[in-house]
């Protein structure tokens, strides 16, 4: 066998047909509209959107002439056939295009000058290219009161609607939330919710991206910009570890909008994004955003200083310190992690660690199984989800699983939480806290039943359940299942691949091996083990913080270096499926702030150990050269679509004892709801959707604990305690305390130890 690349497939694999007089080729079975697009011929469409399901032929915009077929054909639903002769630009086709546009415009208010869609509107564009020069409709147009707020984030202008079905199909057939429908029929058809209730869900914003006219618009974006004033940048959401690809819209250097990728990444999010990812961007200018460097003065207070001065101050501290711990937070990029490690190396007594779940041995066994991308769920026939709460924590995965079920695949959902997809799943097994092992017979049966099985497992839950993790790894391997890890934190996969350990910095502070802390995008007081960290911080001589928002730790810092956020920087995040993807700046960010990578490089210069890299790209090249998991990757190779990293050489924590629950009382189950995270609490756009911290109990458990809805109780674990409001939830099982983490400062993290180990809690007044 030669190593020569496979020859280009001969045209015989393709179908030859004639398009507007040209011989062209297409994949057999492709629809004319796609086949034409492949060879550069645009056939206009409104309703056609394969991500929503098969063609429906409703808008009639794509009519073309196929010789030998009676009448005109919809190119969206006509597959190419050998030697087919197709005209998209002859008189008949042009008249059809012109005609459909004239009819669509008959009732369309030509309010383009005040419409947010203007300039990026398929109806407007098609009209320019294919449409009527004038309208002959003299009757009064269909009239509805001007925009209706479908929710606090989506506005509906019914007059502009051309009834293309996209939004209602998304709601019914993709998100399956069932809320958005057509009401009435014929010319009176309108998009509506049940008796005008708000359209609330986790994926509602996608209908804005889908709408081919200005009927559905983003309320936070309303009247903000015109398309010719804006710039779109492909980037990564980075709010959760799923790694959805997004486009960021900026105007005058400021972020104005986040949308699904215009060119969807089918390996990851398919162009859909969740509402948290879409409307989290106003966190950039929330009240707590740090826009200027801060240095603690002799008066003991933090004072704004120029960034240069603060960096100098930080460098001075670091140089003076005999033992510095560099703590990398979960939002840090791969470059930030690498530079942190290098800076620690350069400093006297320096050491580096990261916040995260310890790499227990059995997790490594699971991680060493062949991985799948989210997109590969589309090829799976069975999927088992073990643990976690992906609908809240990795929302986009749920859409893939719904798709699996729509194409009659098998889905097993197992775990302790009431997962939102569970009622729809083929099978659902609820386990007691720490007892995932009880679901594994079912998991094994389901995975074995498939020919292309995928196991989706939750890092946080399996980390606390050694018995389950061990057996699960063996089961998945025996079944030939590929795996997707539901990471607990955004760039956990990338930082782990850099070999950054967990837990060490806290230990070193407690053992007085570290006297200075440099926290890079890390606030351990808003993390598991916050009580212990709180005490540890007291023992430090100096705290330097690189952060985007004010928090508990910035208030205690000696130097606060204001960092840019993910949407403002260049860098690489590795998604939970092990896909390296590039953040690109879609916004300048505050003038007084800098990217963490820039601050770290600056510090290296100031401490007299200058790094040879000046840019994130150079830094990443060093990562690729230094770590086997990143070997061969470059910014260019990652491109806009991302690229999988290799297996990381992870040394699991030296801890062979299975985690045992500490304390007495009810097992604690900690959950972060989709709108209950820091981003949601910082973004004004999501204000009405924010989810509070709280204690949720089953009705039976609430009775046993003699508490009821609305009671404020103190939940206490051996690690710490916090006050929470009780709500009774019928979906929950008895025998567990479900705590929703809520906004920064809610204190729920105090309940956990820094090792994320299982705990029991007591509920008291």
């Amino acid at each position: 066998m030669s190593d020569a690349p496979a020859p280009k497939p001969p045209p015989t694999d393709l179908v030859r047909f004639t398009l507007n007089g040209r011989h062209v080729y297409a994949k057999p079975g492709s629809m004319l509209v796609d086949a034409a697009a492949e060879v550069g011929v645009e056939i206009p469409v409104f309703c056609y959107e394969p991500r929503l399901g098969g063609p429906i032929g409703a808008c009639r915009m794509c009519l073309v002439e196929v010789e030998g077929m009676r009448g005109l054909q919809t190119a969206c639903s006509t597959p190419v056939a050998p030697e087919m002769v197709v005209h998209t630009d002859n008189a008949a086709a042009k008249d059809a295009q012109d005609g459909v546009l004239e009819l669509l415009l008959a009732n369309h208010p030509l309010d383009c000058p005040v419409c947010d869609k203007g300039g990026e509107c398929p109806l407007q564009n098609h009209t320019m290219k294919f449409g009527p020069g004038r309208t002959r409709f003299v009757e009064p147009k269909r009239h509805f009161p001007k925009p209706l707020n479908l929710s606090t984030v989506v506005a509906l202008d019914r007059e502009r609607c051309i009834t293309c079905f996209r939004c209602v199909r998304f709601s019914q057939d993709v998100a399956e939330d069932g809320q958005l429908t057509f009401q009435e029929r014929g010319a009176g058809t309108e998009v509506a919710t049940f008796t005008g209730e708000p359209y609330e869900g986790r994926f509602t914003g996608n209908i804005i991206d889908l709408c081919p006219v200005g009927a559905l618009t983003s309320i936070p974006y309303r009247f903000v910009s015109r398309p010719w004033d804006i710039k779109n940048t492909p980037s990564i959401c980075g709010t959760c570890p799923a790694g959805c690809n997004v486009d960021i819209t900026q105007r005058d250097g400021e972020i104005k909008r986040v949308t699904g990728r215009a060119e969807p990444n089918y390996a990851v999010e398919e162009g859909w994004i969740c509402d948290r990812g879409r409307w989290g961007y106003p966190a950039a200018w929330s009240a707590g955003r740090i826009t200027n460097a801060l240095v603690r003065g002799e008066d003991g207070l933090l004072h704004e200083v120029p960034l240069e001065e603060a960096v100098d101050r930080a460098a001075f501290i670091l140089q003076r310190s005999a033992a510095t711990g560099v703590l990398v937070g979960t939002d840090a990029t791969v470059e930030d992690g690498h530079l942190s490690a290098k800076l620690a190396e350069a400093l006297a007594g320096g050491r580096v660690g990261r916040l995260g779940i310890p790499d227990r041995p059995h997790l490594t066994a699971l991680r060493n199984l062949p991985r799948a991308e989210l997109g590969e769920i589309d090829q799976a026939d069975v999927v088992a989800v073990v643990g976690g709460d992906l609908g809240n924590q990795h929302p986009i995965v749920e859409l893939r699983l719904r798709k699996l079920l729509r194409r009659r695949g098998t889905l097993l959902v197992a775990g302790v939480r009431p997962q939102m997809i569970a009622p729809r799943a083929t099978e659902s097994v609820r386990t007691a806290p720490g007892r995932l092992v009880d679901a594994l017979d079912a998991v094994e049966r389901v995975l074995e039943s498939g020919s292309r099985p995928i196991l989706i497992w939750d890092e946080a839950d399996l980390a606390n359940d050694d018995a389950a993790a061990a057996r699960l790894a063996a089961t998945a391997e025996a079944a030939g299942a590929r795996v997707i890890e539901l990471s607990a934190h955004v760039n956990a996969h990338g930082l782990r691949a850099l070999g950054l350990p967990t837990g060490n910095i806290l230990d070193d502070i407690e053992a007085k091996r570290v006297a200075t802390l440099l926290a890079v995008h890390a606030d351990p007081t808003e993390f598991a083990g916050s009580t212990e960290w709180d005490a540890a911080l007291d023992q430090l001589n100096d705290i330097i913080v690189v952060a985007t928002h004010r928090s508990h730790i910035t208030e205690r810092a000696d130097v606060v270096l204001p960092a840019l956020m993910k949407q403002e920087i260049e860098g690489v995040l590795v998604s939970m499926t092990g896909r390296a993807q590039r953040l690109r700046p879609g916004s300048d960010g505050p003038e007084g702030a800098a990217a963490a990578w820039e601050i770290l490089i600056g510090l290296s210069h100031r401490v007299g150990k200058p790094f040879p890299w000046r840019t994130p790209a150079q830094t990443f090249a060093s990562v690729a050269a230094g770590y086997p998991a990143f070997a061969g990757l470059t910014y260019q190779a990652i491109g806009t679509e991302g690229a999988p990293i290799g297996d990381a050489d992870v040394i699991p924590v030296d801890d062979t004892d299975p985690p045992r629950p500490l304390g007495e009382g009810l097992p604690l189950v900690l959950t972060t709801e989709i709108f209950g995270d820091a981003t949601s609490w910082r973004s004004d756009a999501l204000a009405s959707l924010r989810q509070q911290a709280g204690l949720r109990l089953s009705p039976g458990e609430a009775r046993r604990q003699t508490v009821t809805d609305g009671d404020v109780v103190v939940v206490a674990s051996p690690h710490g305690s916090c006050a929470l409001t009780v709500s009774v939830d019928e979906r929950l099982p008895d025998g567990a305390a479900f705590v929703m983490t809520g906004p920064p400062g809610a204190g729920t993290h105090a309940l956990l130890g820094a090792d994320f180990g299982p705990v029991n809690v007591r509920i008291g007044a």
Binding site: G178, L180, T181, R185, A192, T193, T195
Partner: protein, 166 residues
């Protein structure tokens, strides 16, 4: 109407359909037999009994002329206004009934709430044109405007059946 009552109506026919969605229309039709229309509560009962969202069942209901989403009178009187009946005087019947019931020219509910008058498309009773239909149960014709008025008066006097299929 409660979900349990709707379920009681559709459960015996459930096995006749490969997909339970088919039960939505029978459930909707049944759910309005008592109140005469699909109140929010009735829609919720249908949604719960069939397992589809409230918005979905409302959307289905709104597609069909004979499923009512706003309150209607104790009896619904439909005047066929399509071509055959028009040629035989349905416009005159409509006008006479509208005046008699004190409703708008295209129908409405009489102030006493007894009768909803509506225009209807071809009722498939052109041999009886001009005809009117009482709920969906009884089609009467041919009628003159005077006869139509008399019939509606009779209806107004008569007791309202507990269950009305319209």
């Amino acid at each position: 109407m409660t979900a349990a009552e709707v379920r009681e109506h559709i459960d015996p026919i459930r096995h006749e359909y490969a997909d339970p969605r088919s039960l939505v229309l029978p459930a909707l039709k049944f759910a309005q037999t008592r109140d005469g229309y699909l109140s929010e509560e009735n829609l919720e009962a249908v949604a719960e009994a069939t397992g589809y969202s409230r918005a979905y069942v409302e959307s289905v209901a709104s597609f069909y002329d004979r499923l009512y989403l706003t309150p209607v009178g104790d009896r619904v009187v439909s005047v066929c206004v399509t071509l055959s009946c028009m040629l035989r005087g349905s416009d005159e019947i409509m006008a006479a009934l509208a005046e008699h019931l004190d409703v708008g020219p295209h129908g409405g509910t009489s102030p006493d709430g007894r009768i909803t008058l509506q225009e209807s498309q071809c009722l498939g009773a052109c041999d009886k044109g001009a005809c009117i239909q009482v709920d969906a149960e009884n089609t009467v014709g041919p009628l003159t405007p005077a006869e139509a008025v008399a019939l509606v008066d009779e209806l107004r006097e008569a007791e309202t059946p507990a269950e009305r299929w319209r």
